[in-house]
Amino acid sequence: MLATVSEIHCYPVRPPGFEEPLFPTAESRRTIAEHLASAPWLSRGSGLPGGNGRTARRCEEPAHVLRRNDGRAYLVRRCGKECRKGHLRKRRVVRVLERWREVGSWWDAQQSVDRLVFRVLLAGGAVVDLALERPSGEWLLMGVVD
């Protein structure tokens, strides 16, 4: 079924009888997430043929990339509410999907960028952009693609 934008806008944002928030508990959010993950009509942004490759969520968080002797690499970062408690989350880098250079705004000391960016598939299915900053050699989590 097709609908125009104006028709969608006419539709009430919250149907009568529904209370906010729609998914107040972790359980209810997990249910809808599992539903979306298994939905056949939903594709990963990075996999779309006409996709522009932009991240779905952009951030610039310090990260650590752990490289083992066996060649495996892991993304290690603090995340979620556990950040305050110092909990770390580690995800294995399954594959480097793409890599590129970003060099820009060199004339502005605050905005200057010089980095090598890797788009990687992590164990668990997430696709994220990791940047190796130059010349500091620090890693940044640039964003989550999908």
Partner: protein, 1104 residues
């Protein structure tokens, strides 16, 4: 080895103006170092860099591929570029045709766009690449959701180029670049087209991406980031291995690049053929026949009858010209001279063409070849493969008339002027970089002021590619206290500008260098042609050296201000005397003229007016024309550095004896007292000592001049010595003579060129001697010209006894006029010296005053086009004194008050129209901004003091009508112990003295020792005075010279028997500072200048 056979086929150099960074030679050298056997140069919308790319590639063993990046636009499409590569001469000609067609047809000449059909019409001999991914014409269509249009474009391109169409793949390693490349590759697969790998090179090394970004932004008059900014540093000349790694998954793209490179490399050969222009001939007539007929006719007119040596030489020259096929070239040059004569435009020849009797007989040159010992072989001979060069000097104001008429006659073959390749000076680079870094215009002015303007200055080089460029510049006294001394604050600006200096900026136009097509090839098939800023004037994309390289003879129609001045002086003198005075036909060997030259007071004389020439005039004491020829040749960098002047002068004065190593050299060197001055003498020496023919002698001269390698010179020396020995010359003497000529050849001067200039020098000296008022008026009306500012010329006129009449709106002409006054001949200041007066306003004054005189400032304001600002300047200049209540200069305050309450006139609709612009101010050297106008409008309109009026005149006219600027300070200067310059000249050796004067110029000519020595030319009441400043003093006090315009000089007099007078400066001070309470001297503003190291300001001004 990986990347086997790969060559970059999409490479932009600095000739992609405002985009590319590296010079073609840098690219070729780097390609050779990276192991590439071939390299393409594909500059944007042009082939500007191709000849020098060929030259450089040949030097490093890289095969050049000729190509261009064509900016394509289609209505409704985003546009983009295609790359065309020539696989032979047919392809080169197609490329030239395509570029000419769309560049001449584009609305905006600075952003030309090629309609696709134009490109599809000329596919012969061309390989087409679809353009870099994302920005190429086809990829941009495909990636912007216009797949259908992309498909159609590919079909059309394939129809035109067939198997020579390749889909270009590039990976700039930005986000998504692999995906985009994949989509373009998929497009190629769908169409069954081959893919080809490139790296769309824009700079040589990754770190140069900053220069590229700056050039793009600045050329679009934007701060960074510029339009289409790309966050990449990958557009550099990568090694084949690096490219191979990028295209590891697409080996066919690499192999196709290698295949196309192999096919196109070296396929275009631009050398070996001279494209002599075709001349218009009547039916059945040949160029050779016409040239012989005209030459014989000219010879009869000049020599009476043609026989003996005249006939023999004419036949010899005509035979050589015919053999080399240059008869049409001579005929076109003659046609240009004839057009000039028909139009009454003064014309003379210059350069080595005067060595030719044919040129003389055709009326192209004036010096008589036999009496001046001019040798045809110095100009051309059978062994020379390059084209001869004929240069004609014309009145600079009317040169374009002649050029345009000649171009109109030959437009069927194609006519255009040569280009120039302009590069950035360090100062220019600061302006470019500062603009890109977002500085405001006033900040840019402050940052660039006093930065050395030239990358190379009189032998001193500011090397843009070394990190020391700025170290050297910042140490200059001119930059003391400069903003850029804060190297931390301006680190980025210093870095960028230091690396930009010396790089290509834009194409310029050589307004007089004409090139022509011929019957075989229209000009647009020989080189791309494009429009210039001047409507209707076309230019080829090659500069003069490139044209020589590709074998296209150039006819130079040069504008010479001296012709303008001489012609006007003749008109003024004829008008006053009521009889014809022809400045181009002065009586020969006029004694009074030579007497004036010998005094050294030569201001205004062509080639004789510089301080050095004035000094030389006093030492050399010329008495005949040949002396002038020698004098002009002697004061050149080479002879000065080689110190040939002193022996010449001493021998001429009989104070030094000379001998020649061989008796055969006697006749050759007798006229120059044993000193080797002229290049022609090298030919004669080779002839009389070693038995070479004159043509062979010229080859030796050229070999010596062009700095051949030591091996070539050794072979030449052995040949010379062995042939001389065979003629009985002792081996040691032969070696000595060869070394002597070898040392000289690097800086010798052509006698023909010197004689051509001496003709004009004598004519100007004659007019200056016998018609000083008319001549100096004409010189003042032909500004900017010569060595001196109008202020100095006017003061010189005053010194030789001419009266200076005040400006008057009813009596002044457009320019200076010569009048008879009670005190004798006089000059009256012209209207165009009033600052800010437009041509239109000036014409309206002349027209209205002929109807009725002006009764008041209001009357003038209402009846003419004069604006309020210009009217104020007319009042300040004294043009309206007669309209003041007091009828004299004292009433200017009242007039200014009247002007201040006048309503402003509405602006003219088009400020861009040339007619609306004020005239360039002829006295563009001096300026004083320190006049407080408010004070003049006070109550009571007090009569102005003489000093105040003078200051106002200085501000408006940049001249001192009433008296010399320093006259008012005579007493104060005496109090400071200042000695007038004339008296200093007579002081004994070793005397300490103090001089004061206004800046004329500061130069740093080459010296024998190579140590920098500065010559400061100042002017005081007594005259012009040259002082010598050595390095130490310059380093300590030089900033005063750059920042002020009037100086106090403490120094010591040197009277050297051999070299004459010099004043060695020990201390330089600001004159106004020295005068303290006595007043502030109206001083000229110092500005860097191309001819001089520093000069009183010359720039024009516009009306406020």
């Amino acid at each position: 080895m990986t990347g086997q056979g790969f060559a970059h086929l999409h490479v932009r150099s600095g000739f992609s103006y405002g985009f590319g960074v590296a010079a073609p030679a840098e690219l070729a050298t780097a390609a050779a170092e990276l192991g590439m056997e071939a390299l393409a140069l594909t500059d944007r919308d042009g082939l500007y860099g191709i000849p020098r790319f060929f030259e450089a590639a040949a030097g490093v063993g890289v095969s050049p591929v000729v190509g261009a990046e064509i900016s394509v636009a289609e209505p409704g499409n985003p546009g983009g570029h295609l790359v065309l590569l020539a696989d032979g001469m047919a392809g080169y000609r197609s490329l030239c045709r395509i570029i000419t067609r769309y560049r001449c047809g584009s609305e905006d000449r600075r952003s030309p766009l090629c309609p696709l059909p134009v490109l599809l019409e000329h596919p012969e001999g061309l390989v087409c690449l679809t353009g870099a991914v994302q920005f190429g014409y086809v990829p941009r269509l495909a990636l912007s959701g216009r797949e259908g249009t992309a498909d159609r474009a590919l079909r059309e391109l394939r129809e035109a180029f067939g198997r020579d169409l390749y889909v270009e793949l590039t990976d700039d390693r930005t986000a998504g670049s692999r995906r985009r490349m994949g989509r373009v590759a998929e497009l190629a697969r769908r169409h069954g087209l081959p893919v080809l790998a490139t790296n769309e090179v824009a700079y040589l090394r990754p770190e140069e991406h900053k220069l590229h970004d700056v050039l793009v932004a600045a050329s679009n008059l934007r701060a960074l980031p510029g339009p289409g900014y790309r966050t990449t540093d990958q557009l550099y000349l990568k090694s084949p291995e690096q490219v191979e790694r990028l295209f590891r998954d697409r080996p066919e793209a690499m192999s196709n690049a290698a295949e196309v490179a192999e096919r196109c490399a070296g396929a275009v050969d631009l050398t070996g053929e001279v494209h002599v222009p075709s001349v218009r001939l009547r039916g059945g007539e040949t160029a050779r026949g016409k040239l012989a007929r005209l030459a014989l006719r000219g010879a009869r007119a000049r020599y009476g009858h043609v026989e003996g040596r005249v006939r023999a030489r004419l036949l010899r020259e005509l035979g050589c010209i015919e053999e080399l096929g240059f008869a049409p070239y001579f005929l076109i040059a003659r046609e240009a001279a004839e057009i000039a004569r028909e139009k009454g435009v003064p014309v003379t020849g210059r350069g080595s063409a005067a060595n030719s009797l044919v040129s003389y007989c055709l009326g192209l040159t004036r010096p008589e070849p036999f009496s001046n010992r001019l040798l045809f072989e110095r100009f051309m001979h059978e062994f020379r493969s390059d084209a001869p060069d004929i240069d004609l000097d014309l009145c600079s104001v009317r040169r374009d008339e002649v050029r345009d008429e000649l171009a109109r006659r030959y437009e069927g073959y194609g006519v255009a002027v040569a280009a120039t390749a302009q590069t950035m000076s360090l100062r220019g680079a600061v302006r470019i970089a500062a603009r890109a870094l977002g500085h405001t215009p006033s900040e840019i002015d402050d940052l660039s002021r006093h930065v050395p303007t030239r990358f190379r200055d009189r032998g001193r080089t500011y090397n843009p590619l070394s990190s020391g460029a700025w170290e050297e510049a910042l140490a200059e006294p001119a930059m003391r206290g400069h903003l850029l001394q804060d190297t931390e604050e301006h680190a980025l600006l210093l870095e960028i500008s230091g690396r930009l200096a010396g790089r290509h900026l834009q194409a310029g136009t050589h307004n007089g260098g004409l090139v022509f097509g011929n019957e075989s090839h229209h000009l647009s098939e020989l080189a791309p042609v494009e429009p210039t800023a001047m409507p209707g004037l076309l230019r080829v994309q090659y500069d003069k050296d490139d044209l020589e390289y590709v074998g296209m003879p150039k006819l130079d129609l040069l504008g010479l201000r001296m012709h303008t001045a001489l012609y006007e002086a003749g008109v003024l003198a004829s008008r006053r005397l009521g009889r014809k005075v022809d400045p181009y036909d002065p009586p020969p060997e006029d004694r009074e003229t030579y007497a004036l030259i010998r005094t050294g007071n030569n201001a205004g004389m062509f080639q004789l007016e510089s301080p050095g020439q004035m000094h030389l005039s006093r030492r050399l004491e010329p008495r005949r024309f040949s002396d002038l020829v020698a004098q002009i040749s002697l004061f050149r960098p080479g002879p000065v550095r080689g110190d040939l002047v002193t022996p010449y002068v001493l021998r001429r004065q009989g104070r030094e004896q000379y001998s020649v190593p061989l008796p055969e050299l006697g006749p050759v060197l007798r006229s120059t007292y044993g000193v080797l001055i002229f290049q022609e003498q090298v030919l004669e020496i080779a002839c009389v000592v070693a038995g070479f023919s004159l043509a062979e002698g010229d080859q030796i001269r050229r070999a010596m001049t062009r700095e051949r390698g030591p091996g070539a010179m050794k072979a030449l020396r052995e040949e010379f010595v062995s042939r001389a020995v065979a003629r009985g010359v002792p081996r040691g003497v032969a070696r000595e003579v060869f070394s002597w000529t070898e040392g000289f050849a690097a800086y010798g001067f052509s006698a023909a060129h010197a004689a051509s200039f001496a003709e004009l020098a004598y004519a100007s000296a004659y007019m200056r001697t016998h018609f000083p008022a008319e001549y100096l008026a004409a010189v003042l009306n032909s500004q900017p010209m010569g060595f001196y500012s109008p202020r100095a010329i006017l003061n010189e006129a005053r010194r030789i006894g001419l009266s200076i009449l005040p400006p008057d709106v009813h009596l002044s002409g457009e320019g200076f006029t010569a009048e008879d006054s009670e005190a004798g001949a006089a000059l009256r200041v012209g209207l165009k010296y009033a600052r800010g007066l437009s041509r239109k306003a000036l014409s309206s004054i002349l027209a209205e005053r002929s109807k009725a005189p002006f009764s008041s400032t209001l009357d003038l304001y209402g009846r003419t086009e004069v604006g309020r600002g210009a009217l104020e300047n007319l009042v300040k200049g004294g043009f309206l004194d007669a309209l003041s209540p007091t009828r004299d200069a004292g009433g200017r305050a009242a007039l200014l008050a009247e002007v201040s309450i006048l309503p402003k006139k509405p602006r003219a609709p088009s400020r861009r129209s040339q007619d609306e612009l004020p005239l360039p101010h002829p006295a563009r050297r001096t300026r004083n901004r320190r006049v407080d106008v408010v004070e003049l409008r006070g109550p009571g309109f007090l009569r102005l003091s003489a000093e105040r009026r003078e200051t106002m005149e200085w501000e408006s006219l940049s001249l001192n009508v009433f008296r010399h600027p320093l006259s008012a300070y005579r007493g104060a200067l005496r109090g400071l112990g200042v000695t007038p310059s004339r008296e200093i000249l007579e002081l004994p050796h070793g005397t300490r003295a103090r001089a004061a004067g206004l800046l004329e110029s500061l130069q740093r000519p080459p010296t024998k020792s190579g140590r920098p020595v500065y010559f400061l030319l100042i002017e005081d009441e007594a005259g012009l005075f040259q002082a010598t400043i050595f390095e130490g003093v310059y380093r300590r006090d030089g900033h005063v010279l750059h920042q002020r315009g009037a100086f106090l000089l403490d120094g010591k007099v040197e009277q050297d028997e051999r070299r004459g007078f010099s004043f060695l400066v020990e201390r330089v001070r600001d004159l106004s500072e020295g005068l303290e309470t006595a007043g502030r001297v109206p001083e000229p503003r110092a500005t860097p200048s191309s001819g001089a190291f520093l000069r009183a300001k010359r720039r024009g001004r516009r009306a406020g």
